[in-house]
Symmetry: D2
Subunit: 336 residues, 4 copies
């Protein structure tokens, strides 16, 4: 097993805040078990209800990523497979907030208006790692709720195409800040490789998140994450995909939100056609009656939609040359 | 029990194709059990794979509705509650199709382009009402799939505000063609009342539907539907809401799709605040971590998004003065 | 000449607030000179800087229209031609305002957010009909500006298709509240006829308006308008078009704004192909290098974009069987 | 005068295809007259109607830029002023084309659909530099048109914020591929400085372009361009602005198109308030009645809208500390 994570004592300015544009931090072999940790999206600077992100954070140093991991043998035209063996909060607390001019129910720099910002506020959540609960307490009343712990990574990606370098706040065809709750342990994420080594990074752990991430901030926390990287050679994809034991999933990240929907569903129509041998038109029909479509985020610089199809409907068709099952077995063997 | 449905032998031109603008067909008492039937969205004209909707249907006579039902005592400022006791396909088959310039993955009259239409095709599904399956067979290959039967109404609504009359093809704040798979038996739908009697209609039965209704046409079929209408007096709402045994739900119908998302989630934030006594800002936070957000449709003249929150998180808060439980009990008593 | 206008002493509830759903007010012959007057969008209720629209107006009685005019011989499949001979403010003042949750730089019921409304304010403009100026005075400072008078009608339309009845606040393929400053005297507007007699109405006079109508309210005023209605038989169009002495123009009204752009430009590509005999692909190229594209409104329930092409580039091609020139000559003869 | 341009004999892989991520090519002093040349967007590879961009161009080498120019003394927090002294086609021809899945009236990778691509075609235009005409000839018929020559740069920008590197095909708050016909000789463009030296580049010359750039490709040509760069110290802006002798202009680049509109108009409301001393609310009103709003592009990865206000309405208010007039005078002196 490879242990690597960012140096907690380093100057925050030296952390990774982009996909692309950063030298590899560490080199890994396909199939290697990797143990890492990730900072929260605020770089650990928002720790109490009196900490306001707009005051304690440097806007150039939001959403630090762990990586980049250089994957031996990954080359443009390949697909990178990322399997999450485990994703566990490092500490007994998480944090959320409203951030001025950020979120789905507020004016933003892009949906530019003349309103004043909504009130900025920070909520601290208790993470009960034994009971597997996320404990919410309202600030203005005594309302509380114990919500299921459901840890995931909001940000997972590789170096983008066309030589671009993209902020870790943005999702796109390189992955990045997709913010889908489907990115949990037991899931394999497929990403297109644009540069030698793929240059994979991850971060932005959430103890849980609602679909759409309405206010723009989930229950943010540091994570201890065990994962594997592998390469599906010579099988390029255009957009990130996911696979769990029960579902195959496509993603689209764009604005307006219907374009994110269109990308995810066009990609699924093409994928299902390939997996089942159906014509494109039949696959369009089949997807129309079987898709589940949880929204990922409607808050980031691109919005993300996920399209899910149950494997049970696919008559045993195998995606990505069986990579998901292969990695599941490897993870099980490692745990044993 | 009141039995009323459209006359199957009537001139199709006499059916109801709009919300608003039509005289009441029948008057009902709040709480009365109503048994009706609904035509399919094609008015029964597409019955074989050789029937093409663009040839056999009159575009002015699509999506016929059963109603309007005039509800005694329903007045502007009230909320109409619609409880679906049962929704059952009338026959052993359903139909879907690609319709020229309609659907999410094609140019349309609104997303106007210079492409030729995608190929028009009709699929006939076998509805196995014993095994509760919808049997799909591809047209170009021998791929088949047996999908769960999950009957629902795509179109459910009342007369719109401002004296408008809206086609049954459009969803909006009056309900209408929302096309959400959540509109199934056991669910209560709440609609704003804009005119005396509310003038409720329903139609567009689907044996099942994927979220988003990608190609624009679900597994369409005639339905036998038993339902109740009741009035929540003096408690107006702005947009349609739903309630099941486990969830409360809000809807938004608009373009672009992010505005449908915004409406549904703003409405949920306000509703949760009202139900739990939380401040708006706390409710925004709470919804951000708990919402499920299944897309309803990305094909109609407005797109529809649903926001769902589990009642389990609401500490026993009761929506709409307990109307859903009240109607559930009445339905159970009637069945017994 | 026919003189007809709404009765200024009538109950405002009897005025026309929709396209469709209203009995004809008066019947006219094609080519007849018609003199009418139109109320302002507030029905005359906002007359001083102390009048706030949200307080003095009934939301069900906004944007009253003059009409409907039943045009003899106009039938579905025809095109109605509307030529504006003159559009003159009736009085020496106009009014604008910010209206809560209405406009392009504010949250709205559709772009739903959690902000409080922007401040509501009313501005009164002096209309100098001699100097042809609209005199603006800031409320909070002594800044003033004298802007060119440029009278136009924001709302011009016919009964919609599919039996729909649409509020006069909405633009669409029936015309309606397009809010384009191009709708000035000397211009001919072409509208699709959906019902016998077309049922034409107009209103919403603006002494002038910026492109996009940013805050949602132009310099609103009552108008004295002289116009003609005529019929281009058997030449249907899908969306409203305009023609001036120098330009042909198409419109699209939809959300998101790019769909309004797409409609207007697809319609122009098809129109130019028809007028010049070019192939669709050549016409697409030609429009790409020659179009002017002033935005009409980004505030109404649909947004409107106009596409303009200079007639000078069309080698003498004649639109709508020469109707514009025909009406120009008739108007000149009548004035003489 | 400084003469600098890309080496026409260099390996195309060495040209500049991004904003950010490229070492400065040359260093300039504020106010210096600079003479450069720019390649066309295809890097000169599409020269005949038989050359198809999808075949002769490498997608990683589209839209080469001339630069970056390192401007002495330009620092984050400053504004860079770019004044175009002259923009002249280098040769007697220009080129346009339809590119598969690119343009406003076609499915694209983002507005993803299931259509086949529109036909790819290349048009060659004659540029008559004496008569100042762009001569268009249809491919399928003998239709021709002589259009006014109106040379401009589609792409003008600096290094982006947040360490991002962005393709020259994309517009944003760093400028880039805005594709507005307003970027012509005699105009000053203001850009926010994000890195020391600003790192300015320009390219994508158009002999002329319709507003919106409907098919995605203007009349593309190499340009000889004379320009100046200067620094407005300590006066940061958020989005690119332009100034001509008669207008001040703001830009917004985003999707959906209404967000581009919102950005441009919010920026103009704030700018006018600053220039005229009006309150924000008064400025909102003033802009609503005076804005001209030509669409720039509805084809690039972000769409761009321009908002223009006539200086005549501003009572002599001076933008950017008089930089435009200063540069105009300098250019006149240089020419003399």
């Amino acid at each position: 097993m490879l242990n690597w994570g960012p140096d907690p004592d380093a100057d925050p300015a030296t952390y990774t805040y982009t996909f692309g544009g950063v030298e590899p931090a560490v080199q890994v072999r396909p199939g290697q078990i990797i143990s890492t940790w990730t900072m929260d999206c605020f770089g650990g600077r928002v720790r109490a209800t009196t900490d306001m992100a707009s005051q304690v954070c440097d806007p150039r140093m939001l959403n630090p990523q762990s990586g980049p991991f250089y994957v031996e043998g990954a080359n443009p035209g390949d697909t990178l497979a990322v399997h999450f063996v485990s994703i566990e909060p490092r500490q007994g607390w998480g944090v959320s907030s409203t951030v001025p001019f950020f979120g789905s129910l507020t004016a933003t720099p892009t949906t530019a208006m003349l309103h004043s910002a909504l009130t900025e506020r920070t909520w601290i959540y208790e993470l009960d790692l034994v009971e597997r609960l996320v404990r919410y307490a309202a600030a203005d009343t005594d309302f509380t709720a114990a919500l299921p712990l459901d840890p995931m990574h909001g940000t997972v990606g590789v170096a983008p195409p066309l030589g671009e370098v993209r902020s870790s706040l943005t999702p796109g065809d390189w992955g990045g800040n997709m913010d889908t709750p489907e990115m949990r342990a037991g899931v394999t994420c497929y990403l297109p490789v644009h540069v030698p080594g793929a240059l994979f990074s991850l971060g932005d752990g959430h103890a849980r998140q609602g679909e759409g991430e309405t206010c723009g901030v989930a229950v943010e926390c540091e994570m201890d994450t065990v994962f594997m990287l592998d390469v599906v050679a010579g099988a390029p994809i255009s957009w990130p995909r996911l696979e769990s034991d029960d579902f195959i999933m496509t993603t689209g990240s764009a604005r307006p939100l219907e374009d994110a929907f269109r990308i995810a569903h066009q990609q699924m129509v093409l994928w299902i056609a390939e997996l089942t041998g159906q014509s494109t038109l039949d696959s369009y029909q089949f997807v129309s009656q079987t898709a589940l479509t949880p929204i990922a985020n409607v808050v980031d610089t691109n919005y993300t939609v996920v399209c899910k199809i149950a494997k049970a409907h696919l008559r045993g068709a195998v995606a990505a040359a069986g990579m998901h099952d292969h990695m599941r077995r490897k993870a099980a063997a490692w745990r044993a």
